[in-house]
């Protein structure tokens, strides 16, 4: 989680001086994020043995090698979601009515929904990315990076306030990525049924 904020600051630092066009900054941000995801992957794999020593339940980490990936992805997601949403939330408390004078009345709900998608997506991407980097599966890597670029670009549609144009594809992508991450982490329809059954 520590490195996540670092990466956020660093990439913004690098990107911001260049941008006057938001899309340009956005593309670079996505690339930097994926780059830092890769760095974190390298770091965590190297530190894994050390972390196992200091972890309380060492069995749990060794059991499932996706736990580290999940945690990293979740960290990314939380920070990303927090940074996107918290200022909007703070403004939402204050006086005013959205959409009364200008703007769309669905601003806040779209904000919230999109943030949720991104948090989930980052978590899924974390799992897929780490597993793909472990097994050198370049297709999955491309899916992660490409998917990130795709959804970020889709959110650019929000500028025109036609929120459905970005939300609907976003949720579809989230669901698909979720299924993919589930598969990568070793789940299957059978295991899902087994987990859901009353035992």
């Amino acid at each position: 989680m520590a490195a996540i904020i670092t990466f956020v600051c660093v990439f913004w630092f690098a990107v911001v001086p260049l941008q006057h066009e938001l899309a340009f900054g956005l593309v670079f941000s996505v690339l930097f994020q994926e780059l830092f995801r890769f760095f974190i992957y390298k770091l965590l794999r190297k530190a894994e043995t050390g972390l196992q020593k200091v972890a309380e339940n060492t069995e749990r980490i060794t059991d499932n090698k996706h736990i580290l990936a999940y945690v990293a992805g979740l960290g990314f997601g939380i920070i990303s979601g927090a940074f996107s949403l918290v200022n909007v939330l703070a403004d939402a408390v204050g006086p005013g009515t959205m959409g009364l004078k200008a703007g769309s009345q669905y601003f806040f709900i779209t904000s919230a929904a999109t943030s949720l998608c991104f948090i989930l997506l980052h978590t899924f991407w974390g799992v897929i990315f780490f597993s793909a980097a472990d097994t050198k599966n370049y297709v999955q890597l491309a899916v992660v990076v490409g998917g990130h670029m795709l959804v970020s670009s889709m959110t650019l549609f929000n500028r025109s306030q036609v929120y459905a144009a970005s939300l609907v594809p976003l949720y579809i992508v989230t669901a698909l990525t979720g299924v993919m991450a589930f598969r990568v982490a070793g789940g299957s329809r059978a295991s899902l049924k087994a987990a859901c059954s009353w035992r």
């Binding site: 989680m1 520590a2 904020i5 956020v8 600051c9 913004w12 630092f13 990107v15 911001v16 941008q19 938001l22 900054g25 956005l26 941000s29 996505v30 994020q33 050390g50 020593k53 200091v54 972890a55 309380e56 920070i79 990303s80 927090a82 940074f83 996107s84 918290v86 200022n87 909007v88 939330l89 703070a90 601003f107 779209t110 904000s111 999109t114 943030s115 991104f118 959804v151 970020s152 959110t155 650019l156 929000n158 500028r159 929120y163």
Partner: protein, 452 residues
């Protein structure tokens, strides 16, 4: 020798160390063999190091919660109660009020203010050490008691008044008097005497938050940041240099086998000897529990005054001692349980070894000084007072990272470490970076609702 170590940690550690040194072949007396019972072979050193790290990691988590809570209280107050962000009067120690619009004037104003404050802090610290060395415990205890009285009654009352005013809630004086009286008295009892652990922790966190709010309100803008930086440097100097006042203080306390002002440290376990010594050593228990109440009432002779400004000058005095104690805490935290040259006492009976091990695991709590809480909260509170939550969040994470690193270093180096420099440095870097660079970009992103 009945010289009973009043640190529970030290005592148990002494006994464990004795146990381990009697059985270790490699003769490394200063690493504590936590898992070697008396009849098992010597654990290799890496195993001990791993234990050290595990200890460090576990206690990092234990400290995250109180530090976050304190910051939460401060941030919540700052964002909801306007009183703490309006600038009317300033501390008497900061005569330069940064009124001019010229940047360079502001800068030298801030630097001058913080140098004055630093001078006051240094003088107070030295005074405290002189008092301590000359065993003027009554004065010190009275000082501390008076300062916590002030915090718990006057500042809490002012805080409550401002919160009620901000939320437009009426409250009659009778209820108020009852509330404040109970709150204050229970607080005094919990902090200076015995009380439920959680309650004591809650009171300490609240007192630290109040103090942080005072600093945020009564220091001019740029002065706050410069003070934070200067105090981190002072912390570093005072704790690590051989002639540093705090180091002298801690070493003196260790020589005398005493507990240092337990009223001003946050501890995650009971600091009272009577709880930890359950291994049947009654004489130690009796004398340690005698000792702890004795070290509690510290004297800080200040009378309260109606004028907040002169009251704050005394508050400064009290916080100096707090901060001093805070660093002693850091040192204690580092040293509690790990001082190899300290097990001069022969009082421990090594027969209760399994108990020692258990005790050790339970009561090797982590301690952090209240001054650390205060300055972390000042940083985060000040960051949040500008209204941007991204900055606040970034500073919060930075401080937690710094705390993590500090505790890790503590677990590795096992000596006195200041808790302020790393966290405050990270906090300041992240604050300025986020504010200047991240904020505009994040704002434009969120106004377009583009997500990255």
């Amino acid at each position: 020798m009945p010289a009973n170590v009043s640190y529970p940690d030290n005592e148990v550690a002494n006994s464990v160390m004795k146990e381990s040194s009697s059985q270790q072949e490699n003769g490394v007396a200063d690493t504590v063999a936590r898992e070697a019972p008396a009849d098992h072979p010597v654990p290799p050193e890496w195993h001990e190091e791993e234990e050290e790290l595990k200890y460090g990691a576990k206690h990092v988590i234990k400290l995250f919660v109180p530090v976050s809570l304190c910051m939460l209280v401060v941030v919540a107050t700052i964002s909801s109660v306007n009183f703490y962000t309006t600038k009317d009067v300033y501390l008497v120690y900061t005569p330069f009020h940064e009124d001019s619009p010229d940047t360079s004037t502001k800068v030298w104003n801030a630097v001058a203010n913080s140098l004055i404050l630093m001078a006051v802090i240094v003088v107070m610290t030295v005074l405290l050490i002189v008092l301590y060395k000359n065993r003027c415990y009554k004065i010190i205890h009275g000082w501390l008691i008076l300062s916590s009285l002030m915090m718990l009654f006057i500042f809490s009352y002012l805080y409550l008044e401002e919160v009620l005013r901000a939320y437009n809630v009426p409250l009659d004086y009778i209820t108020l008097a009852l509330l404040m009286w109970n709150f204050g008295v229970v607080g005094m009892v919990c902090i200076h005497w015995y009380g439920p652990l959680r309650l004591q922790q809650a009171y300490l966190i609240f007192v630290a938050a109040l103090m942080a709010l005072v600093f945020i309100k009564y220091l001019p803008e740029w002065t706050t940041w410069v003070v934070l930086a200067v105090i981190s440097v002072w912390d570093l100097v005072a704790v690590l240099t051989p002639k540093g006042p705090l180091r002298i203080l801690v070493e003196t306390a260790q020589e005398r086998n005493e507990q240092i002002f337990p009223a001003l440290i946050y501890s995650s376990t009971y600091m009272y000897s009577y709880v930890s010594i359950v291994n049947g050593e009654d004489n130690e228990q009796a004398s340690s529990s005698n000792q702890s109440p004795q070290s509690q009432p510290t004297n800080r002779s200040q009378e309260s005054e109606g004028d907040p400004e002169s009251g704050f000058s005394r508050e400064w005095v009290s916080t100096h001692a707090e901060r001093v104690e805070q660093r002693q805490r850091d040192i204690r935290e580092a040293s509690g349980g790990r001082i190899p040259n300290y097990n001069a006492t022969a009082q421990t009976n090594v027969s209760a070894q399994p108990e020692f091990r258990e005790l050790e695991e339970e009561e090797r709590g982590v301690k952090l000084g209240l001054g650390d809480f205060i300055f972390y909260s000042v940083l985060v509170g000040k960051a949040s007072s500008y209204g941007d939550w991204n900055t606040t969040l970034a500073c919060f994470v930075a401080i937690l990272i710094g705390l993590c690193l500090t505790l890790l270093l503590l677990a590795i180096f096992k000596k006195a470490l200041p808790a302020l420099p790393i966290s405050i440095t990270f906090g300041l870097i992240f604050y300025f970076a986020t504010r200047q660079i991240v904020k505009p970009f994040a704002d434009s992103l969120s106004s377009e609702q583009a997500f990255i």
